[in-house]
Amino acid sequence: MSGFLAVYRREMLSLWVTPLAWVLLVVFLLLQGTIFYSIVVHFTGMADLAVETGPVEAYFGQESVFLLMTLLLVCPALTMRTFAEERRSGTIETLLTAPVTPSGVVLGKYLAVLSTYAAMWAPTVLYVVVLRKTGSVDWHAVGSSYLGLLGVGAAYLALGTLMSSMSKSQLIALLLAIFAEFGLFVLGVGEYVFEPGLLRDVCAHLSVGSQMEEMSRGIIDLRRLVFDASIAVASLYVTAKVVDSWRWG
């Protein structure tokens, strides 16, 4: 764990003094705003208001496919530079000859992108605050929704960090991360494709869509979070091994 804090702070600084984080933030918020606005407009147009869910639940739940698509764009872009750029520019040599451990470096970088991810979501709390003026909001469901998003982000960003350690090129790292994260996303869609049976059950368990749907209704299924955490931990563990292996390259 040696070097964790220093790496974390350097990574945050580098993310926010370069345009990358800001560009991603703008794109992300534009997309989220558009999605949320469309959903709210859709709900106001409904004649029959005897529905189970409101716009907030729809945004985080049934319609979460839009939201997850934006994550497939933003998460790989957030992680692509973590290791690829250090290896391309050679700074990895100064980094790894300092008294740091691979786990410290990997965790520092990972938590920096995870914090940035969380910071990008923070302004969306305003949507809920705005809606509260026109009706009641189930804050418990909102809380569990954000917890679900944190889980998805934790898994995606860990996968992306691993992919960034696989290549010296940011572009390759980006593409690999999109493949990996899109693959995970598509597995979940299998829930609606396969006949009832084992395959369908497996897909349902892996589905980020179902995860968000449950979470948006305030249901916190620990298995979902354990699954996200497993992906994150496994990816980061392999990343640390990859970083260690560079000494033998």
Partner: protein, 327 residues
Amino acid sequence: MIEAQHLTKDYGSIVAVKDVSFEVGKGEIVGFLGPNGAGKTTTLRMLAGFLGATAGRVKIAGFDVATQSLEARAHVGYMPEAAPLYPELRVREYLAFRAALKRVPRRARKAAVERSLEQAAVKDVADTPIGQLSKGYRQRVALADALVSSPPLLILDEPTAGLDPNQIVEVRKLVRELGGSHTILLSTHILPEVEAVCDRALVIAHGRLVAEGTLAELTAQKRTREIRLTVRGEAERLERALNGVAGLARVRSKAASTTPSVCELLLDVADDADPESTVERAVAALVAAGGGVRNVTPLRASLEAVFAELTAGDEPRPSGDAKASDA
């Protein structure tokens, strides 16, 4: 400060460094000398803990780089070749990051950064983003980075590469000054650098350590086989007189420009002959032939000559040589 034993690094079938052993004592400034591609950077990377050795071991300040890696690395200020830095950070931000990474206690960090800024003479650009700095400044920022935790050992990989002559002089001066308080191992392929800065040199060629010693020892190692004589007499006659002398490989003569009756003779002693006795015989022969021997000067081997001889010796030939393919 550094103990390297039988260091070997191979990349599959390519052996980059083979069985290199040496020691660097406390307070020494040692030059790590070799042509490009000889294995200098690979060796230094193994010392700094960036690359693992295929075989052999390194101890830094008594800590094994493989098994006590963190302690060993904490004692080294390493400056890689080409000075890689984060272009988006300001110099002071970068050094603060490096100080934290190198476990400089929080309270001492600010002072450590200021000290290293001053030592490497980069205080005037402390608040400039690194990406805007010239090559010379970047090189010195990397040096400040190596110094920021005041490590007892500095490993500098080609610290003067890419600098202009004035900057080279400055960096050499700085290294000399740091030599008082630090042990320094610096790599270079520039010979005057070693002469200007180092107490001792290690010469590496084709991945092997081919020579080691003080500069005087190194130049003495190449036994002087060239002797210059200034002799009064007719050049042709003197050359004829030397014809029969045993142990001489070649004799060249030229008229000394100042006085017409005096000429200069350059004698090459044969490889298998003893230079001293050959000189005796040659002088006797010249005197017997009526030459007035005025001056006998064994030409001191220059460091360049030593370097060329040491590093060219076992050049692997492209093909047809059985010895070259010892894989």
